[in-house]
Point group: C2
Chain length 883, copies 2
């Protein structure tokens, strides 16, 4: 039997279903599902994603069977509609759209009004009794097809339109007559032939195949590739192509087109929410060129607005009913598109709606309360990576807001950054380490790269469903859209709101929840984690197996971590305890000392300060374990490097500048990442680790005596050979037992190591003999496994990801194929020695959902991440169980 490449739908029936997204794409599967539900869907058919795969595997050709199947499906559509593709007397027009497994809004090509030529346009005029509509459709089609399929310059078309308007001495497009528009279509065709040396295809069938090919080809445009990279969508998935009978929202005042959500995608509030435009085609709404009207009376913000509920009450009621039916059917909030053609409602699309994290949580909790879904389904409904938005600070309510402009609250959260006016500038400033806010008249897919690095996005045009708004919500970034008060001048790199001008580099603050724009950098506060969020996280914690700790170096961080639900500290770095305040002087004194005694003297000054640090951290983590990593960075990081700083230090210490320079040069390293650091320091200067252990244990004993439950875990960094660990363990155990003896308070402590070198992974069985616990330091492990310096890899890593040499930046998500293999080996070997050894992970991967899933698969005991990412890790850990 020949492979089925084409699936038809329409007239209350369909060959496909919602669960066939892999084959039909999201749009195709849902069109089939809607049609199968008996909803009014324009008939059509879907060409499967398998054809896309075939297309790229076979030098951009199609399987032999395809042609026949398309022709048959088209005949089926003709039969339902009662019109004929290419028939001048009773023409069927179609749209050709992409539809991948995952939604990629605006990323790929669409062709509308396909099937028109000089003969058919006349028939359409007769059939619709609307010559101007027919001619305008023709003009639009030639322009769109010329641009998208044939690759003609779109400016060229605009130029011809302007020329025509000058000739006709009119100002607006709408003033052009049917004849003018037909003439324009003819001029477009001539321009195409002249520019490209190919004539515009008059045969509707040829047009159809051209459009199908263009959609498949658009799967590999740079912007589609960039989008997939950002959203981790595999190139191998491919796109389907949907060919569907055209319906027209632009056939006059009884026609309209719109989009909607069954619940508010920003807040999750349960109300039908949407926008529409009378006498418009679908792309007009999302393109953000005309500002759409609210769909119902409840959503009106201004009495002058005209809602669909008011303008076309019958259609609105039918639409409202359909959306409720759809939500009940899919058991999730739906994002729908519809067109009303001369009073008749057509459903063009339904899909699970994108939403902010806040909305996702609220919708999930509400749906459970409404008994539509169970808790486990609810947990799966919230994207762990998007949760980030909820956890980021909002503007301090105490702060005085000087609002300079107000737009639509398109994506919630506070964004504070320096103003930039192009995606390229955004990228450049970001790479310099600046926080930036991207300000655009409106955004297009070309801006994605800039949006990805911005703290927030501000646009002067577009609605709540404009490109900027949709993409920003998807990225979990604050966005204020449609801020009409703002005059943006991208060329001069500035924008003006009334008398205030914001120039490139000026601080600006956005409130994505209110739409307010403020000059300057406003203070922010951490979010509330109660209400629906608290309920939801309770369910999450009931499901997950993996423990979640936080990386926290100070009592303050430790408190934040607890608030976010951290069950201990997985990594307390002690570096800052050597840098802060006056301590750096004692540290430098230690480094400059010529012998052990000198170093010990200097360390004695640091001891009480570090003890105090540990007291604060242990107190905040009462009852929870605290993993403390002994000093890790190379000593030269504590010395001044410039001649000026050296001169200053010389003044303070009385050590000659020459001597300081000699010490600096002596400690200089060619590859500090691979240098004299971590446990290597502990071995050559055991007195440093001894002081740290003394401070830790004195703090632990002091608090234990006060009734605080302290669980210290002393961690030796950068161990590669078990002898390193054994030697340092001896020193640490000795100091600890002295402190316990001296204070008379017994404190149980663990002593373990980071696993952050490939060698440590392959000898983890040996290391486990000397370690009570192990914690993967996947930052360094990734650096050494790949031989990538994180500080230097910027010069090629971006290209590696873009060109699919690596599927994802290995510093963002654990490289399962390489680093992950070493981790697995380490776990297996360590457990062979000590089946119950505690194994965790600290470092940034601990807050990355995909990496958390991997850690769950490895059977780790816990992940540890930055306090703000703790809820993300908790959710990812629960989702890993449900996967």
């Amino acid at each position: 039997m020949a492979t089925k490449y084409v699936f038809a739908f329409g007239n209350g029936k369909a060959e496909g279903k919602a669960d066939m997204k892999e084959l039909l794409g999201g749009k195709g599967a849902n069109l089939a599902e809607m049609s199968g539900l008996g909803l009014p869907v324009p008939p059509g058919f879907t060409i499967t994603t398998e054809v896309c795969t075939y297309f790229y595997d076979h030098d951009q050709t199609y399987p032999a069977e395809l042609k026949e199947q398309v022709i048959a499906a088209l005949k089926h559509v003709e039969k339902i509609i009662g019109a004929k593709f290419g028939d001048p007397h009773n023409p069927l027009l179609v749209s050709v759209r992409s539809g991948a497994r995952a939604s990629m809004p605006g990323m790929m090509d669409t062709i509308l009004n396909l099937g028109l030529n000089d003969a058919v346009v006349e028939g359409l005029a007769v059939k619709t009794n609307n010559a101007r509509f027919a001619a305008d459709s023709y003009r639009r089609f030639v322009q769109m097809y010329g641009d998208v399929v044939m690759g003609a310059s779109s400016e060229g078309f605009e130029h011809l339109i302007d020329e025509m308007k000058r000739e006709r001495n009119v100002r607006l497009d709408t003033e052009l007559t049917a004849e003018d528009l037909k003439e324009l279509a003819a001029r477009f065709k001539r321009r195409i032939a002249d520019d490209l040396g190919t004539s515009f295809p008059d045969s509707p069938e040829e047009q159809l195949w051209g459009a199908i090919g263009a959609v498949f080809r658009s799967w590999q445009t740079p912007r589609a590739i960039e989008y997939r990279r950002l959203h981790a969508i595999p190139a191998a998935w491919g796109t389907a192509v949907n060919v569907q009978a055209m319906v027209f929202g632009n056939m006059g005042e009884h026609s309209a087109t719109g989009v909607g959500f069954t619940r508010d995608p920003s807040t999750g509030e349960h109300r039908f929410f949407g926008e529409y435009l009378i006498n418009a085609q679908g792309e007009d709404v999302v393109a953000g060129i005309r500002t759409p009207q609210p769909i119902n009376i409840a959503a009106k913000t201004d009495a002058a607005q005209l809602s669909l509920e008011e303008a076309m009450p019958e259609s609105y009621r039918q639409l409202d009913g359909i959306t409720q039916k759809l939500e009940a059917h899919y058991r999730d909030m739906q994002d729908i598109e519809f067109t009303i053609q001369e009073g008749k409602l057509w459903m063009l699309q339904t899909r699970n709606g994108k939403r902010t994290a806040a909305a996702a949580v609220k919708i999930a909790v509400d749906l459970v309360n409404e008994k539509m879904i169970d808790q486990k389904t609810a947990i799966k409904r919230v994207s762990a990576s998007h949760l980030d938005q909820l956890l980021h600070p909002t503007i301090d309510p105490q702060a005085r807001r000087e609002v300079i402009a107000k737009g639509l609250p398109a994506s919630p959260g506070a964004a504070v950054g320096k103003a930039v006016f192009s995606a390229d500038d955004a990228w450049e400033w970001h790479n310099r380490g600046e926080k930036i806010v991207l300000i655009r008249l409106e955004t297009s897919p070309d801006d994605i790269k800039g949006m990805a690095v911005a703290e927030g996005i501000l646009t002067a045009r577009g609605g709540m469903t404009s490109h900027a708004a949709v993409v920003a919500r998807g990225m979990g970034k604050p966005c204020v859209a449609g801020c009409h008060d703002l005059a943006v001048n991208a060329t001069k790199k500035e924008c003006a709101a009334g008398s205030i001008t914001v120039r490139e580099g000026d601080w600006i603050t956005l409130d994505g929840a209110t739409g307010e724009v403020m000059a300057g950098a406003l203070p922010t506060v951490t979010p509330e984690l109660t209400g629906d969020f608290g309920t939801f996280m309770g369910w999450v914690d009931g499901v997950r197996r993996l423990g979640v700790r936080a990386n926290a170096d100070t009592p303050h961080d430790a408190e934040v971590a607890r608030r976010f639900g951290a069950e201990g500290i997985g990594l307390c770095r002690t570096e800052h305890m050597f840098f802060e305040g006056d301590r750096i002087d004692a540290v430098r004194e230690m480094i400059l000392a010529s012998d052990v005694e000198g170093r010990k003297q200097a360390l004695k000054k640091i001891l009480p300060m570090q003890r105090k640090d540990f007291v604060g951290i242990f107190r905040a983590m009462d009852g929870f374990p605290v993993t403390i990593r002994l000093l890790d960075p190379p000593l030269h990081e504590f010395l001044p490097h410039t001649d000026k700083d050296i001169a200053e230090l010389s003044q303070v210490t009385g050590v000659s500048a020459d001597q300081l320079r000699r010490k600096r040069d002596e400690l200089h390293e060619f590859n500090p990442m691979l240098g004299h650091r971590g446990c290597r320091l502990g071995i050559t200067f055991p007195e440093i680790y001894a002081m740290q252990v003394q401070a830790i244990m004195e703090a632990a004993c002091e608090l234990t005596a006060q009734g605080v439950k302290v669980i210290p875990e002393i961690e030796i960094p950068l161990v590669g050979h078990v002898h390193e660990l054994k030697m340092l363990r001896t020193i640490c155990d000795k100091v600890a037992s002295e402190v316990i003896k001296h204070t008379g308070t017994d404190v149980e402590y663990l002593l373990g190591t980071m696993i952050e070198l490939p060698r440590a992974c392959v000898v983890a069985d040996e290391i486990a003999h000397a370690a009570d616990f192990m914690s993967f330091g996947t930052n360094d492990l990734t650096q050494t496994t790949f031989g990538f310096s994180r500080d230097d890899a910027g010069s090629f890593l971006g290209e590696y990801v873009e060109r699919h040499i690596l599927p994802v930046d290995p510093f963002v998500s654990i490289d399962r194929g390489g680093v992950g293999k070493l981790m697995k080996m380490a776990c297996d070997l360590a457990r062979k020695t000590k089946p119950d050894i505690v194994i965790g992970i600290c470092g940034e991967h601990g807050g990355d959902p995909s990496s958390v899933m991997f850690c769950h698969e490895l059977g780790l005991d816990y992940v540890s991440c930055s306090p703000y990412r703790v809820p993300i890790a908790r959710l990812a850990a629960a989702q890993a169980v449900l996967k």
Copy 2:
């Protein structure tokens, strides 16, 4: 049954045998063997190495059974000798010596004349009828025991001797009377009691246990530890203790002591070779204080010398017979020690003699020719690491030698270096990257560290068997010993030979084969590799399985490599092809170019030069494979770094200094080892690799057309992910096929990769899909596996090895436990994909015998090393088969 801790020997019998070295140590096993052969060996017994292990495992105490066993063995000795330990009327005196499994000359303690006290010394005087001898023995014993066992200051004793000589108004020790010497012994004892608060033990039994303990303790002195570190002797082996009846070479003119070799240890010549001293104790010969006489007439270099053959012809004949018997018994060249006590010959030791590499080869070949051993045994007899000496240059015979002094040719080879006068200075200069020659009056075990880093050693005192000579031969370093013409002033850091003064830092040249010393740095030439060496290496090649290639970057290196027997080039680095001559200008032009076209223009200039390089290398390797590694180092290595150099480049190129500085800063890396290098360069600048492949293939095609057999292997460095290799393979294959098409000459080439990152090891199965061959780059693999930067690890790696954290420097010998595990994994995975994939190793481990053995075990196809180490690798590969 109680463990047997003591093994007796003497009177033609023995409880031990030669093959019990692990238990009895080398000396003990051979004393037992000699005694068992019926040779005249002073009776004694050996306390096993197990006691040493017990001693260190049990807080320096002995097993309970030991005492009784020692007493029984001592009684046995008394019976054979017919004297009694501690009996004033018929006293037995004993020596107490160390003896480990491996020889550690001079490293551990020895006590002679043990068993004397104020009463016994009188009995000895009566028994020997030599009061002065008895008193002198007593004085020596108290001094030795006080120093070695009790830890009294040896200068203190010298001071008392000087004082006594002043009191007696004499100049020489020999002028002191028996009474003086007894008085001296008494003063020594008082000084010991005063200084240490412990009185000298008068009980012979107490003396014996004190000496046994001292020998065991000497196993862990810093100099013994250092020696073991240098010779990779495990601390766990422990030493045995040999207690043996004393015989005296210092009982007058009919007594003597000496050492000898059954063949010349320098040249391997088959002649009895040795030195002796009349009226002396054994330590006098090796200490180099008196210059010994040749053992036979044939060895005399001066008519004034008196050989043993002349002085004591009967003893000489007996000795000559015994040595021949011993060599036939052991089937190897023997190193013997003997003493003649009043005309009676006693054998004190025999062992396989240390020898130079040249001697080792000659002796091995001669023994095969003499049908004493077979070829396989011969192969095992030559130490691969010592072969080095044979392969290093000797002084160019054309060079004009201005000999400033002449000493003994103690260890062959030419040494050219800057003069230093202490071990510490040697170490310091060496660490600065200087080649040095160590000049000492005489060397002691404290100098080992300095000798290890010297190009050669020059001493003013000592014979062919002095400390300097023995150690230098062991290390395979050139040595001129006993150069009496030289006045060495270590304090002033200079030495004088006649009117010529050599100061620290002055160049000096030694010829270890002639004993000549020359001022200045003389040119050297490569050695002849024919004769015995050629015969021997022929046997080696017949046995080994592993291929041996060389690392060679130039036609000249390639020729040298072929001469040393390399079967191809395993690593041809191409870096220098970008640096040399004018090329650097074009390379800089390439780096400074702003686009691909600019880079291509610059590369075009380099292409013909590189093609010429490859033509030369391919021609030299006619018929053998040549692995060419494409460009590896980061581009910033090709730019000037100092402001001065930048200014110069600015002048030449017309590019502003500012722009050059910006480029330099832009390319600066924090960890260049982990930066933008290797295949990462090839991916971002594919035009560079394309140019290199074009040059390689054009050269290959040109020569193939001329009838040369060219086997190019193109190697992509630093691959971590198979996608890197696949992408670059596509580019390289395209260029290669274009060249083949263009030239019309078909050349088969392989394309493969270095395996030098941990990730590459764990995904070798994937990489093997895209690689025709793989070559381990164990330098980088060691760096990344350990997280050690080779450039920076100096600050701790020495300590790591000294403190046994690592058994050996992993940059010298492959770390089997970690790096080796990854290599094994890579081999297994790669062969799973491609069972016949060619796997080799390049880099310095390829010339390290222990690493070569490991590579044999892994089943690699070849090792590749520097041309001069090719014979070493060949030998190690053969020995791996025979192991």
